[in-house]
Every structure is written in structure tokens, then in C-alpha cells.
């Protein structure tokens, strides 16, 4: 508690900002390696069956081709593949070119390696596969009857009575559908693999250099230290780079077999089937309350798509277990296994899907109760986490409702559906809440002060966009009370001290704390050195009596510059490395970040086109380390939420089991014209228990609750409940009235 930082919440630029906007930031595919070759993947064109024959001759004979890989020649060449018979190696990772079976459309069946990209593309088009087709399933609705529990030990959650909502005075039941969402970051999946002897260097698009390192090392059963993974800049990921994919294995294998560096960059089309997606999920919510709006029961069920070969699982129904004070809650989560590629977590994983249903259902219940949707939420506000009965380490969700409602002008809204108009447009207001785990895992950071006074902070975390670099720098700046000109950050490289994979809103809490601890340890070391070389009167001064400010260590009015300190000690540098992790506070408290999203939108009465005109997101994410970056993070999440609500949908043609919109013209991510002014309000109160810096995460809560806010606003504007995302204008059909 006494460790709480007094971080200034002022604007601070990203450490990589100028590099990014000037093209100076190098992404994985941009490294120049002499003798580089290019890998191009051939995807399957059927959704299920078997490769009867694969004719690679023409490709092999095409100009510039070095090698063609497929199930015919890969398996036994990779020690781990040869030994480990299973298709799934490591969590959720499936082998590439495993055998002749086709498990989904767009599965990589071969890779051409050639001396130029164009030649590889051409040769790839010459590969002829003859398939034996088998009937495939890609339609969730038609396969719900075959749903399975995520694992044999999985138990459905029951708190007291099952389906108690049915006995409540007022209840609603509704089904909510959400389609596949494709992460689609700007940067395509890309990798360069380069073997030198038995050492491997990988320039990788990854959210975690260490998990990549372990995985690649395991393929060849070599010591992890022989593998270096480099990823200082990642052009967005949203979850798609949480683990390695078959295209990356294929590249590492290709580089080994050809003994040449190999670069692979996926096409946008391949991004739809080769690197995961947020799985289509059907949900049911039954929720009931007394006439006064006191919740009696919540039943939340979800059926989520996964591949035929893996039980990918997420926490979709979890928030219903603790979001509201409610005596009776039961949840069911099932997987529908189909002939599709493997999903992977996407921003706000699970919770974004689950809270979409729960927060729409709360709105529906509020209307049925004839009650303000915010009032209903506040009436059922949980102070103790009802699931594990722990007090929250900090929770200012109530404040979020209050400041957000004020900012958007909630009280000006006429609650009656289809009652408000503005410039000929139907007007809708909606609200949705978000919650996500506020985690902390373990990370190591190194702080080094050199003889020139330069302070270098190192930790291997990735920065997929949130501004991890500036977050690390900001923590160090505050620790050393400096404006930061002499502070430098290095990240995204396995040669640096280990940090966890970036995901789950964990990085600031975890890596920020490691940086904090490393800086504190460095200051302690400086105090020791001070005693040895500056005050030599033998007297010991307590650490607390020292001030560190603007490049000087100060004791009782005597100021010594860091350069002097290091020089007097006859050293080149002072360096410390500290590991930092959560302790037993995790058993004592419930840790969550919270957000409330408010939306105002216009709907054209003749065309049904929806225009979001204002978003206000109020966030309780503990202490805000860098306000500018936190705001950017929130804005990104809001934009993602607008896409989730209104435009994004991976559409299958079930007859073929193939995506019918696997490109940016047809898969609609929001564009600038779709994005309104976005107000981000931070509660900005430090969490006293989570970690020494008081920061909870906010990458995920930025999107969680946004889609239901829009869906609820559409109802408010039109009186029509659209319960399947995205809410395209044909589903609103206001023009019919």
C-alpha cells in the first residue's frame, strides 16, 4: 500500500511512435537477411476429406523453386512431430502437414519455397491436389444437438437453484447470436526463420517471444537457448499471435530442410483460416427479478464453435457468475465441434461474447420492469464477489455509471423506445457494462544505469500496440523522478529478461511491476555505492532519506549526479535484474477491471443505416500509468466494439464450408466515417492490493460491453430488438413501418 506510486497522468508519447509513423519500425517480414527465400502456402479448397494425390512436380520444376513441403515429406523430418503422434502439440497448437486429412477449408496442405515471392506464388498455383471429399459441417445451428462439454471434468456452474429466474415475478428469456470475428490486424501473419548451425533466429509476429521460443525449440528438441525470437514491433494482433500457428512451424521446418532463411507472410485471405478467430457463439439468457428489480435468478448458456480437432474454450459464461448480486445462478458452456479451423482468443475473449448476452438481457429486463437500465444494475450491485465470496481489491463500477451517464446526458433521454428524433433521425441511447480479470503473473526486468547517466529498462514483453514501451518507461521515469530523456526501453527479444505473453490485460500489471521492482532495487544498489564511495564517514543513511531526481542522488542537500556516482565507484555501469510476481493477495481478494460504455446513435428512418454519434466509456482500471496510451487503448477497443456490434461477421457458405467474405472489401471493419467522437473517462484510483503500481489492465474491458450498449441503443431508437450480431440495416428494417 505504501508502495503506491505517485505517477503523473500526463501525455507521454510512445517510445516507438515516431518509428511507426515514419516507417522506421521494422516488422517481422521487413528484416533483410542475405540469401532469403520465400515460403508460400497452398490452402485446401475443400472443408473435409482426404488428399488422394498431391501433384507437386510442375511446382518443383517451376523457375526459382527450391523445395515443396507437404505431408509427404515433412513429418519424419521434425523430431518432435515424429515422436509425438498427436495432432495437437502444446496447447491449441496443431501440427502443419500432419497427414493427408483435410480438417477445414483453407488448411495449409503444401508450401513452396522459392527464390522470389512472385515465383513462389506462381509455383504454388501449379500444385494440384485431388481430394476425396467427405460431408462437412460448418453450421452451428444444425449441430447444436451434438454439442459437448469442453472437457470430461468440466462441471456446469450452479449457485443455489437452477433456472430460478422462472420463479421470479418478472423475467425474460432470449437467445443471442454472435458470428465469427476475424482478428484482422493490419500486419499480416509473418515470420522469418534462419538456421545457423543448430541455432535458430526467428523474426516473428508474436505476442510472446518466450512461448514462441519454447515451441520452436521443442520441434527440434533443442535447448531453448539455441533459439532467439525477435519481435520488437508487432503491427496489431488482438489475440491472433498468442501462440504459434502451422504457417510458422512450416517456415521453421522449411528453413531447416532447405538450409536457407525463409520468410512467410500470409495473405489477407489466409488470415481468415490460418490464425484463428473469435468463435461464433449462440447464447441463451434467462433472467428474473422481483417487481422492485431485485435479481432472483440468472441462467446463462453458451454454445461455441470449435474445430473438430481441439476443444478451444473461453470464459463466455463466467461473468454471469459474479457480475451481479444474485442468489441463484447457473451457467452451461458447450462446444460445437465442426469442420473449421481452430479459434483463438480475441480481444475481450469470452467476456466480450458473454457480456454481450448478459448486458442485452439486463436491458430487456429493465424495460420489462419499466425501470432505468442503470438503476437495475445499481440495485443489484455486487460489493463482494458472489462467486468466490471475496471482497474486490477495488471496484469503482458505480462511479463509472455515474460519470459516464453524466457525460452522455443519460438523464435527457426519453426511455420510451422510438420516441426520440434529432434532425430527422431516430435517436437511441444505450448502456453496457464490461468486466475482465485483473491479472498479474511473473515477469523479470533489468534496470541498468551507465556512466553517461543513461538508464536502460529491459524486459522481453511484446508491444502489440498498447504502448508497452512507454508504460515501462513511465514507471521508470516516476521511480527516478525524471522527465525521461535519458531513459530507454528494450523489449520483444528472448535475449532480454523473461516476460509473459502479452494478452489478457496482464502486461502493465505484470511487467510494470517488474520494472518498478527493478528500479527500486537499482536505487537501493546506488545507495550502497553511495555509502562506499561518496560518504565515507562510515555512517549509514536510511534508504528513505535519499531522493532521486533528474539524474542525481540527493542526501541532505548534497546532490551527486549519477555519472559522478558511477565514475567515483570506478564502474562502467550499475545493473540489477528482478523477478516480480503476485503473492497471496490473490487468495484474499477478487481482482477485476470494470468499464461502462454509453452510446448515442442515429438511425436513418428510411434506410436503417446506423450512425454512432457519441461513445462515452468510463473505466475503472486502477491507476492509469500513461493517460495518452490508456486512452488510445480504450479507443481501439471501442472501435472494435462498434465493428462487433454493427459490421463484422465471418460468413460461411455452408454448402462449401468456405468463407464467402474473406477480404477487406467484404469483411467490414469500421472505417473512420463510422467512428464518432469517443470520450474516455478514467476513475484513475489505484488498486491497493494488486501490485506495487496500483494498475489494473484495460485492454480487454475497452471492448467488453460496447456491443450490447449499441444493441440496446438500437432498441431504444426503434423499439426493435435485434439479437444477432452484427446489427446490419436489413435486420432493423425500420423502413417497413
Amino acid at each position: 500500500m505504501e508502495n503506491l506510486l505517485n505517477l503523473a497522468a500526463e501525455d507521454t508519447d510512445r517510445t516507438d511512435g515516431i518509428l511507426k509513423v515514419t516507417g522506421g519500425a521494422k516488422y517481422s517480414a521487413e528484416y533483410q537477411i542475405p540469401g532469403i527465400t520465400y515460403g508460400v502456402l497452398v490452402p485446401s479448397t475443400i472443408a473435409k476429406g482426404k488428399i488422394n494425390s498431391l501433384d507437386t512436380k510442375a511446382a518443383e520444376n517451376a523457375p526459382g523453386v527450391i523445395k515443396v513441403l507437404s505431408h509427404l515429406n515433412v513429418n519424419n523430418s521434425v523430431p518432435r512431430y515424429a515422436k509425438d503422434q498427436a495432432l495437437i502439440i502444446d496447447r491449441n497448437i496443431n501440427k502443419v502437414f500432419y497427414n493427408d486429412q483435410i480438417l477445414f477449408a483453407g488448411q495449409p496442405i503444401a508450401m513452396v519455397i522459392a527464390d522470389t515471392y512472385e515465383r513462389a506464388v506462381y509455383a504454388a498455383s501449379l500444385i494440384k491436389a485431388v481430394y476425396q471429399k467427405a460431408p462437412h459441417q460448418t453450421n452451428l445451428e444444425l449441430n447444436i444437438a451434438n454439442a459437448v462439454a469442453p472437457n470430461p471434468n468440466a462441471k456446469d456452474y450452479v449457485r443455489n437453484q437452477i433456472d430460478a429466474y422462472k420463479d421470479a415475478e418478472v423475467f425474460i428469456e432470449a437467445e443471442y447470436d454472435q458470428p465469427n470475428h476475424i482478428h484482422n490486424p493490419m500486419e499480416l501473419g509473418s515470420i522469418i526463420a534462419h538456421w545457423e548451425g543448430d541455432g535458430l533466429t526467428v523474426y516473428d509476429k508474436t505476442q510472446g517471444v518466450f512461448s514462441s521460443q519454447r515451441h520452436y525449440a521443442s520441434l527440434y528438441e533443442i535447448d531453448s537457448k539455441k533459439v532467439r525470437v525477435i519481435a520488437p514491433h508487432v503491427g496489431g494482433a488482438f489475440g491472433m499471435a498468442l501462440h504459434s500457428w502451422p504457417y510458422q512451424d512450416a517456415t521453421v521446418i522449411a528453413a531447416k530442410i532447405t538450409n536457407r532463411p525463409v520468410k512467410t507472410m500470409l495473405t489477407r485471405i489466409q488470415m481468415f483460416t490460418m490464425v484463428g478467430y473469435r468463435p461464433e457463439t449462440k447464447q441463451f439468457v434467462g433472467i428474473g427479478a422481483s417487481k422492485e428489480g431485485i435479481l432472483q435468478g440468472i441462467t446463462h448458456k453458451a454454445w461455441a464453435v470449435t474445430s473438430s480437432f481441439d476443444n478451444f474454450t473461453e470464459g463466455t459464461v463466467r461473468p454471469s457468475q459474479f457480475m451481479y448480486k444474485c442468489p441463484n445462478v447457473n451457467t452451461i458452456y458447450r462446444l460445437v465441434k465442426m469442420d473449421v479451423s481452430n479459434p483463438i482468443w480475441m480481444r475481450g475473449p469470452g467476456e466480450a461474447t458473454g457480456m454481450y448476452a448478459l448486458e442485452c438481457a439486463m436491458d430487456e429486463l429493465a424495460y420489462k420492469l419499466n425501470m432505468d437500465p442503470i438503476e437495475l444494475r445499481l440495485k443489484n450491485y455486487a460489493v463482494i464477489n458472489p462467486e468466490n465470496e471475496l471482497p474486490w481489491s477495488s471496484k469503482f463500477l458505480d462511479e463509472c455509471y455515474e460519470i459516464g451517464a453524466k457525460k452522455i446526458g443519460w438523464s435527457n433521454r426519453n426511455p420510451k423506445p422510438a420516441s426520440m428524433k434529432e434532425n430527422g433521425m431516430l435517436v437511441g441511447y444505450g448502456v453496457g457494462s464490461g468486466v475482465f480479470n485483473a491479472g498479474r503473473s511473473s515477469a523479470t526486468a533489468r534496470a541498468t544505469l551507465d556512466e553517461t547517466g543513461k538508464l536502460t529498462i529491459q524486459s522481453a514483453a511484446s508491444d502489440i500496440g498498447p504502448g508497452t514501451g512507454i508504460m515501462m518507461k513511465k514507471v521508470a521515469m516516476d521511480s527516478f523522478q525524471t522527465e525521461g530523456k535519458e531513459v530507454f526501453v528494450e523489449l520483444g527479444d528472448t535475449n532480454l529478461p523473461p516476460a509473459p505473453t502479452q494478452g489478457g490485460s496482464n502486461t502493465t500489471s505484470t511487467v510494470g511491476s517488474a520494472v518498478y521492482d527493478a528500479c527500486t532495487a537499482l536505487k537501493e544498489k546506488m545507495v550502497q555505492v553511495y555509502h562506499q564511495f561518496i560518504v565515507t564517514d562510515g555512517q549509514q543513511h536510511a534508504y528513505e532519506n535519499f531522493t532521486f531526481k533528474n539524474g542525481a542522488i540527493i542526501l541532505g542537500g548534497k546532490s551527486t549526479s549519477y555519472t559522478d556516482l558511477i565514475k567515483k565507484a570506478g564502474l562502467k555501469e550499475l545493473t540489477v535484474t528482478r523477478e516480480s510476481k503476485a503473492g497471496n493477495e490473490r487468495q484474499k481478494y477478487a481482482f477485476n477491471s470494470f468499464a461502462v460504455h454509453f452510446v448515442k446513435l442515429h438511425i436513418h428512418p428510411f434506410t436503417g443505416m446506423v450512425k454512432v454519434v457519441q461513445v462515452v466509456s468510463a473505466v475503472d482500471a486502477g491507476k492509469i500509468i500513461s493517460e495518452k496510451q490508456a486512452r488510445s487503448q480504450m479507443i481501439g477497443g471501442v472501435v472494435g466494439g462498434i465493428g462487433m456490434a454493427l459490421t463484422e461477421e465471418g460468413i460461411y457458405d455452408h454448402r462449401f464450408g468456405v468463407y464467402a467474405n474473406n477480404n477487406f472489401a467484404d469483411y467490414h471493419v469500421p472505417v473512420h466515417a463510422d467512428i464518432p467522437p469517443i470520450d474516455i473517462l478514467f476513475v484513475n484510483k489505484p488498486d491497493p492490493y494488486i501490485n506495487p503500481i496500483g494498475a489494473k489492465g484495460l485492454g480487454e474491458v475497452s471492448i467488453i460491453g460496447l456491443a450490447p450498449a449499441i444493441a440496446n441503443a438500437v432498441f431504444h431508437a426503434t423499439g426493435k430488438r435485434v439479437r444477432d450480431l452484427p446489427i446490419t440495416l436489413d435486420k432493423i428494417t425500420v423502413w417497413e413501418s
Binding site: 498455383s125 443505416m609 459490421t647 454448402r655 467474405n661 472505417v671 466515417a673
Partner: protein, 327 residues
């Protein structure tokens, strides 16, 4: 993508001669549609004839109206003072299309010739009569939300995706087509065709012809023009429905009217019957609704695009209200 030859032409006559000589060649202008299609192996010309050096970039007034060279850029026209003031419908339609970057590349000839956005046409793993005659139309019983409701055939229900074309057909434009042997001028409305039983052909341009000019006759619609584009996002999306409306008003009386729709047919769809109905009538919601009803005669939907049967007339009314300043 296959290997192809590339030649760059310095004159119109050499370009049309090359077209004559190489029947498998394709003209490339901005390349913003053709290159995408080549990358996806949908079109595989063995030779590209680059016409960018040709002197066809002009926009100028003539006795009849305005003459626009086939290589004039979409952005160049949309920002052109003459177009903005005298033919704002064209300017609005162009600006409703694609993105700023694409409009900076897109030429008039290329835009007229851009191919449908039916996703089955783009994806060679699924059948498509337009890409491969007689292979079947996947859209007919497939994902057909974007597809046509007028003049469709069971062989192809794709739509012409262009916004510019909708304005040009409404404005009674003409097109000059040139081959090595002759030059001909046809009505813009006769340039594109319905799918019929030859969906592989989008228009009546002959293999050895190129587009050199577009002519828009002078008109008095500039005070009462509106291009409405209904789409899935507010920019950078093709039209679900679009409506081009140009009115010449005398007080509240409609002296002349031009109406066309996009996103509904294999060609930009002119609403002649609705125009005839409105001619000489007063601008009113009631008349507009009646006109929309007339326009919808013969419409037919295919499942995912059923909503267009209701959205289209509603959009016609909205465009007319906007054009006549009633809303």
C-alpha cells in the same frame, strides 16, 4: 497470377492496333480492379496494354455538354469545378465510392469496366457462371445479400458495383468507343448489358475496342441532384442500394426528372417508368411513394436480398425528398 507481357502505349492508334493484334490482351488503366482479379486468378490476360500515357485525361466543356477522357481520374472529376457546379450528381456518386486512395487511381474507363463484387466470382474454389460459363451460379441459392432484384437471370444475379455508372446513366451520358477500324458513339444506357445467358460479358464493348470518351449532355439538374448510397458502413463499402436522382424544378413542379439505381441489376438501372410518372407532377411525398412503387414493378429477390424489395423503394423516396429539398 500467371506470367504476362506488358506493353506501354504512346498513342490511341497504337493502343487499338495492339488490341486488334492480341485478342487475349487487356487494357490496364488505374489497375485497381484488374490487378486484384489477376492476383486471385479470376482474370489471366497474357498481355497487359498500359494506356496511361495516352492523352485522355481531360475534362472539358463542348457544345453538347462536358467531355471526359477515359483516363480522367475519378478524384479529378469529383473535384473539378465544372463537374461540382454543373453535374454535382456525378461528383456525389464518385465520392460515395471506394476510398480516396482508390479514387485517385480509378479512371473513367476502368470504373465503367469494373467487374462485379459477387464473392463467388472472386473465389475460384466455388462455381460461377460469370467466371467460368456453365459451371453454375453459386449465388442463386447462396450468399446473395448484395445481389440483384431487377433483370436477373437464373444464370447470374450479380450487380454492377459502380457508383459512377449510376450517375452517368441517369445523366443520359454517351460513350465513344474506338477500334482500329472505326469509332462509334453509343448511349451509356446501352453500354452495359443484363446477364441473360452470357453472364461472362458485362457490356457490349468489343474485344478490339477501347473507351476513349464519356460525354454528358448539358442539363438543368444541378440545383436538385442527390446521390443516396445505402451501405453496411459509412464509407468504403459497395452499395446495397443506391439512388441517383436529378430534378429540374419549376417551383414545386417537376419539369424533368432522371432516376437510376445501383446495387439492383447487372447494369446501372434507369427507372424510366417512375420518371414518366413524375414528369410534370408536383414534388410531394405521395408522388414520390407512387413513383417508387412503379419503379419496383418486376423486382424479384433471392433470399438474403429480400430486404432490398422494401429498402429500394424507401431509398428512392428518400433520394427524391433530398433532391427536391423536401427533407
Amino acid at each position: 497470377m500467371i506470367n504476362f507481357d506488358y506493353i506501354r502505349m504512346g498513342s490511341i492508334s497504337s493502343a487499338v492496333k495492339a488490341l486488334d493484334k492480341f485478342p487475349d490482351a487487356k487494357i490496364i488503366a488505374g489497375g485497381s480492379n484488374l490487378i486484384d482479379l489477376m492476383k486471385r486468378n479470376v482474370m489471366a490476360p497474357t498481355k497487359l496494354i498500359d494506356i496511361n500515357p495516352l492523352p485522355l485525361k481531360y475534362i472539358h466543356t463542348t457544345k453538347q455538354g462536358v467531355q471526359i477522357g477515359a483516363l480522367a481520374l475519378n478524384s479529378q472529376a469529383a473535384d473539378h469545378e465544372l463537374i461540382k457546379t454543373k453535374y454535382p450528381l456525378l461528383s456525389m456518386a464518385i465520392n460515395a465510392g471506394a476510398s480516396a486512395q482508390l479514387r485517385n487511381m480509378a479512371t473513367f474507363g476502368g470504373n465503367m469496366m469494373q467487374r462485379t463484387r459477387c464473392s463467388y466470382f472472386y473465389d475460384t474454389t466455388m462455381p460461377c457462371n460469370k467466371r467460368e460459363p456453365n459451371s453454375g451460379c453459386s449465388a442463386l441459392t447462396g450468399i446473395n445479400r448484395m445481389h440483384g432484384i431487377f433483370g436477373t437471370s437464373d444464370v447470374c444475379i450479380a450487380v454492377n458495383p459502380s457508383d459512377m455508372n449510376v450517375a452517368l446513366v441517369a445523366l443520359d451520358a454517351k460513350v465513344i468507343l474506338k477500334s482500329a477500324k472505326k469509332e462509334r458513339t453509343i448511349a451509356f444506357a446501352d453500354f452495359h448489358k443484363l446477364a441473360g445467358d452470357s453472364p461472362q460479358l458485362d457490356n457490349h464493348l468489343q474485344k478490339n475496342e477501347m473507351i476513349t470518351d464519356i460525354i454528358i449532355p448539358e442539363n438543368q439538374f444541378y440545383n436538385n441532384s442527390y446521390y443516396l448510397k445505402v451501405r453496411d458502413r459509412h464509407s468504403y463499402a459497395f452499395a446495397l442500394i443506391s439512388v441517383a436522382a436529378g430534378l429540374e424544378m419549376d417551383g414545386q413542379n417537376i419539369k424533368k426528372v432522371r432516376l437510376a439505381m445501383g446495387g439492383v441489376a447487372h447494369k446501372p438501372w434507369r427507372l424510366y417508368d417512375a420518371e414518366n410518372f413524375l414528369q410534370g407532377k408536383t414534388a410531394s411525398l405521395q408522388n414520390f411513394e407512387e413513383a417508387a412503387k412503379i419503379a419496383m414493378k418486376g423486382a424479384k429477390s433471392y433470399g438474403h436480398n429480400d430486404f432490398k424489395l422494401a429498402l429500394a423503394p424507401s431509398s428512392i423516396v428518400e433520394a427524391l425528398l433530398k433532391a427536391s429539398h423536401l427533407s
